[in-house]
């Protein structure tokens, strides 16, 4: 692998507090030097490094998405690990964490290793998140030690949230002993049977059953009570795709009380509200659903004030025929890997003036920290050579038809984005160039 010199760019590396013009030398899959402009030219020449001109570009640690559905094994018609990671690379990501609701459910070291094997042709690093209970049935715990040894970075039953008090307590305690976070898709499914959008006046008018915000907040509150009861165990609860002001308040309270509770918010939850569902647009159907404008604003404020740890996409590809159905029958989820940076930049940076270092932190550094991904989300010397180069002023239009994902189920077709990815480098290899 040839060394790479990234020259003339503006490095934004929240991990080392760097926000300045720097050149970067990548060697053997690692960051080997970060120096003032021009200082690495001689070394680069000596090593016959490939030169990447980053003039006018931001050079940042590669983006990390801690919530994606890559659909393999079992549902390759929606996405494969190869196609999903290609979409991720195009979106500036160098690592993704793959949810276990595959077919079969990823609840074993074998499947966990299978997902990471070279035959999958992943363009970037894939970290499996494994099922917390066997088959995600909410009954018997999986083998957390063996799963961690096989590469699992967290446990979750994702779309089948752990409702039982006793099994959730066991999950939190066992995961804490092994040192794995527990991710909860917080939805009390006893309150959401037959529901396909947010509860409220719009759901009534559209004749659709609505999911109340309490279905999310009550489970977050229950989970936090359990973490509090297990305080000495250092249990770590991570709330997936938080979508309601009420649940965010619970997370903030837990943190004030010193509990290890983290949360992520998906771009669609701070960019759109439930109005996008009008005319029964199945590309705006996901779970948790798009919420009220007040909840959308709360997500935005939570991000701005630092209460939210990570922006994660919940990339959920579905085939065209699955989304072309009656609204209530269509599956939940939208793709997100190629629009995350563009939407985050447009809304948080462009509109709300959040500094670039905070953007990178939310999309990379803090995401790595949440799932304890060592050597990721940082450009400090010795870190993995995971780098994204993007033009922070570059406006572009997203066209779903050009997406590298196998599926095109996105509500953002034709939207104007800010922040154009110029190159993505994964462990020292250029995996995407625009």
């Amino acid at each position: 692998m040839k060394p790479i010199l990234i020259r003339g760019g503006h490095v934004v590396d929240p991990a080392s507090g760097l926000d300045a013009d720097r050149d970067l030398l990548l060697r053997d899959g690692r960051v080997s030097a970060v120096e003032a402009p021009g200082k690495l030219n001689a070394a680069a020449k000596q090593e016959a490094a490939e030169i990447l001109d980053a003039k006018g570009l931001v050079v940042a640690p590669g983006l990390i998405d801690i919530h994606v559905h890559l659909r393999e094994p079992g549902q390759g018609y929606k996405e494969t690990i190869a196609s999903g990671t290609a979409a991720a690379a195009a979106g500036g990501f160098t690592a993704v964490c793959a949810m276990p609701n595959t077919v079969p459910v990823n609840d074993s070291p074998e499947t966990t290793r299978w997902m990471q094997s070279p035959e999958r042709n992943a363009l970037i690093r894939v970290f499996p998140i494994t099922a917390a209970t066997r088959g995600s049935m909410g009954e018997a715990l999986t083998e957390y030690g063996a799963l961690k040894a096989a590469g699992a970075v967290a446990v979750t039953d994702d779309g089948k949230p752990i409702l039982g008090d006793s099994i959730m307590r066991q999950t939190l305690a066992a995961a804490a002993r092994i040192g794995l976070p527990v991710i909860q898709h917080a939805e009390d499914t006893r309150m959401t049977g037959g529901c396909s959008m947010n509860s409220g006046a719009l759901a009534f008018r559209l004749g659709l059953r609505g999911m109340p915000v309490e279905a999310e907040s009550s489970l977050v509150e229950r989970d936090i009570r359990m973490v509090a009861e297990l305080k000495d165990s250092r249990a770590h609860l991570h709330v997936a795709h938080l979508s309601t002001a009420k649940a965010l308040e619970a997370v903030k309270r837990a943190r004030r009380n010193g509990l290890h509770v983290t949360c992520e918010v998906a771009p669609h939850h701070f960019v759109m509200n439930e109005e996008a569902v009008a005319e029964y647009n199945t590309h705006a159907k996901m779970n948790p659903p798009l919420r009220s404008e007040a909840d959308r604003e709360a997500m935005l404020e939570g991000i701005m004030e630092g209460a939210v740890d990570s922006i994660a996409t919940d990339h959920a590809p579905h085939a065209a025929h699955e989304k072309e159905q009656e609204f209530e029958r269509a599956p939940n989820g939208i793709t997100g890997l190629e629009t995350a940076l563009g939407l985050t930049m447009a809304v948080l940076h462009g509109k709300h003036k959040l500094p670039l270092s905070r953007i990178i932190s939310l999309l990379s550094t803090q995401s790595a920290a949440v799932l304890n991904l060592k050597g990721r989300g940082s450009l400090a010397v010795g870190s993995f050579a995971d780098v994204v180069l993007f033009d922070p002023k570059g406006q572009w239009k997203f066209h779903a038809s050009e997406s590298k994902s196998k599926s095109k189920n996105t509500p953002f077709d034709g939207w104007t984005m800010l922040g154009k990815v110029s190159a993505t480098i994964s462990e020292g290899r250029v995996v995407y160039r625009s």
């Binding site: 049977g193 037959g194 509860s199 409220g200 006046a201 759901a203 009534f204 008018r205 559209l206 004749g207 659709l208 005319e279 029964y280 025929h321 072309e324 159905q325 009656e326 609204f327 209530e328 029958r329």
Partner: protein, 284 residues
């Protein structure tokens, strides 16, 4: 009257129907159109064919417009996107039943301003209060009426227990107020629209029917005491003895059969409008 001579109209019915289906069919026939009926049972829908493919097949067979009844809210949007044809919504899930609301309106107008032939406007129903009572949450008829009638100036009162009438119903549009005391609502109303409890959509809801009848049934005593002059409507089907008694349904204030009769004229008008408005380029 043969405005639609030899035009092709398809009726696509995923749910059972007596009034709506028959009156749409009669309406089309009276205008000279050829009609084809496809119902969920006895078609490839039973084999799992999608709404999209069913629509494409009907269009390929020459359908120029499709009348759709479907158990899923928003299904007409799916069919419209799939075929590009004009779609007449004959009831979709809990969402809307617009032709029913229009025939209800016609019935109301016939009774409230019998002699006047002036066109309807935003003030036509000014000063008129219409109470809709019963299973409003599950009712597409209620939604269409509560959105339509206030546009002509009517005030709509919704009455029913919490389980069948959520608070959010009042914010569905302007001019809608919840009055859970049915008697109080009746006292103010010139028109009363009773709704059936939709057992097939209740999905495990526990409802005390005796309590329900006590508070919300339209019976002779209640109507005589609180709305002796009001027009009584019901979109049907009626569950006699539950939401309404036979004495009221068959009584002098009832316009239930008249509603059904108006359905044909309303649906003739809708068909003419839909087919004349059909953009010719879109037919493939």
């Amino acid at each position: 009257m043969k405005h639609l001579f030899k035009r092709r109209v398809s009726l696509l019915f995923y749910e059972s129907s007596t009034r709506t289906r028959t009156s749409f069919e009669l309406a089309a026939k009276q205008l000279g159109a050829d009609t084809v009926l496809v119902s969920a049972l006895s078609s490839s829908i039973e084999k799992g064919e999608s709404l999209k493919d069913t629509g494409i097949a009907l269009r390929a067979l020459g359908a120029e417009c499709i009348i759709l009844r479907h158990p899923s809210s928003g299904a007409p949007y799916v069919l419209s996107r799939a075929t590009g044809l004009p779609i007449l919504n004959a009831g979709d899930g809990m969402h809307e039943h617009p032709s029913q609301a229009l025939l209800d309106l016609r019935t109301i107008l016939t009774h409230l301003r019998a002699a006047k032939a002036t066109p309807v406007s935003e003030t036509t129903l000014k000063g008129v209060t219409v109470t809709i009572c019963g299973d409003i949450f599950h009712s597409r008829v209620a939604r269409s009426n509560m959105l339509l009638l206030p546009r002509l100036g009517a005030r709509v009162l919704l009455s029913g227990p919490q389980a069948l009438l959520p608070e959010t119903a009042a914010s569905a549009g302007p001019g809608i107020v919840i009055e859970r005391d049915f008697d109080k609502a009746l006292n103010q109303s010139q028109v009363v629209m009773m709704l059936r409890i939709q057992a097939e959509r209740l999905a495990g809801m526990n409802l005390d029917l005796d309590e329900y009848k006590l508070r919300y049934q339209a019976n002779s005593d209640r109507i005589a005491a609180h709305a002796p002059d009001a027009l009584i409507l019901h979109p049907g089907p009626i569950i006699r003895g539950l939401e309404i008694t036979s004495e009221v349904a068959d009584g002098p204030q009832s316009a239930i059969a008249e509603q059904v009769r108006h359905g044909v004229a309303i649906r003739m008008a809708l068909l003419v409008r839909a087919l004349n408005a059909a953009p010719k380029g879109k037919r493939k």
